[in-house]
Amino acid sequence: MGKLTIGCFSSLVGSMTLDFAVKLAEAAVKKGHEVDLWLSGNGVMLGKKGQSKFRDYSYLAGTVEELLKTGKFRITNCEACAKARGIDKEDTMDGFGIHSMDWYLASAFDADRVLHIGGE
C-alpha cells in the first residue's frame, strides 16, 4: 500500500476536476492506500461550510466527510488562497486542515505518487 498526494487547483462546481480528484481519492482509499488532498487556488471552495446539495450543481461535501472517517485521508486548504476568498477557519468544514503552501511540498516529500492537477 502506498501514499498518493493529489494537488487540486480547480474550483468546485465550475469545474468537474475537483469531482475527479475526490473520486480518485475515494477509489485509492478503498484499495487501502493513503491519500493527501491539497487544495489551492479556487480548489479551496471545497472546504466552504454550508454548501447546498442541488441536482444542477456538483456536491462533494458528503463524500469528503465519509473519506475523513476512514483515517486514511487528509484534506488541507491553502491558507492564503482561502483567506483571499473570504474563507477563514470558521468558514471551513470540520476535518479540513489549513496550512501554508509548504505543507503540499512536505506531503509530496514522502508520497509514493504525486498527481498535481494545475490546469485552468
Binding site: 494537488g7 487547483f9 489551492s40 487556488g41 479556487n42 501554508s100 503552501m101 509548504d102 505543507w103 503540499y104 511540498l105 512536505a106 509530496a108 516529500f109 508520497a111 504525486v114 498535481h116 494545475g118 490546469g119 485552468e120
Partner: protein, 137 residues
C-alpha cells in the same frame, strides 16, 4: 536523510487563471518546508518554463499598477533572490522571436546572485527524468 527533487513545469500563460502564479508561490514555499520534515530531509525545487509558458518571463509587466496583483515578473525575481533554479526553454524563446534581453534574466536590483538559465528543451526533459515528482502547471 533525503533530498526529494520536485520539478515545477510551467506551460500555461499568465493572468488568465492563477496557474503559473501558483507554480511560483508553491516553488518558493520550499524555503520553509523543513519545519514539516526530519532533520536533514529537504525538498529541492526546479522551475522550468516551456511552450507558450515562456511568456510568463517577459520584462516590464505592469499587472500590479493596473490590476493590483503581483506580476509574474516579480514572482520570478523573488524565486531568483531565493536561489531557486529557473530554466527557460531556448527553442520556445526562438519560436516566439524572444531574446534573453526580453525576459527576466536576473534580480540584481534585489541582490540576487542566481540568474535565469536559458537551456535547450533536452535539459528540461533531463530535469523531469531526475525529479522525484512532477508538478505541471
Amino acid at each position: 536523510m533525503a533530498i526529494k527533487k520536485l520539478a515545477f513545469i510551467v506551460e500555461k500563460l499568465p493572468y488568465k487563471a492563477e496557474t503559473s502564479r501558483l507554480a511560483l508561490t508553491h516553488a518558493i514555499a520550499s524555503q520553509t518546508v523543513e519545519i514539516y520534515l526530519e532533520d536533514g530531509d529537504n525538498v529541492e525545487p526546479v522551475i522550468a518554463f516551456v511552450g507558450d509558458g515562456v511568456l510568463n518571463c517577459l520584462k516590464d509587466q505592469k499587472a500590479l499598477d493596473i490590476y493590483g496583483v503581483t506580476s509574474l515578473e516579480m514572482h520570478l525575481k523573488n524565486a531568483l533572490l531565493l536561489d531557486l533554479k529557473v530554466l527557460v526553454c531556448k527553442e520556445d524563446l526562438d519560436r516566439l522571436g524572444l531574446k534573453e534581453d526580453d525576459i527576466v534574466m536576473d534580480a540584481e536590483e534585489l541582490g540576487a546572485e542566481v540568474t535565469t538559465e536559458v537551456v535547450p528543451y533536452d535539459q528540461i526533459q533531463q530535469e523531469m527524468e531526475s525529479a522525484d515528482h512532477l508538478l505541471f502547471f
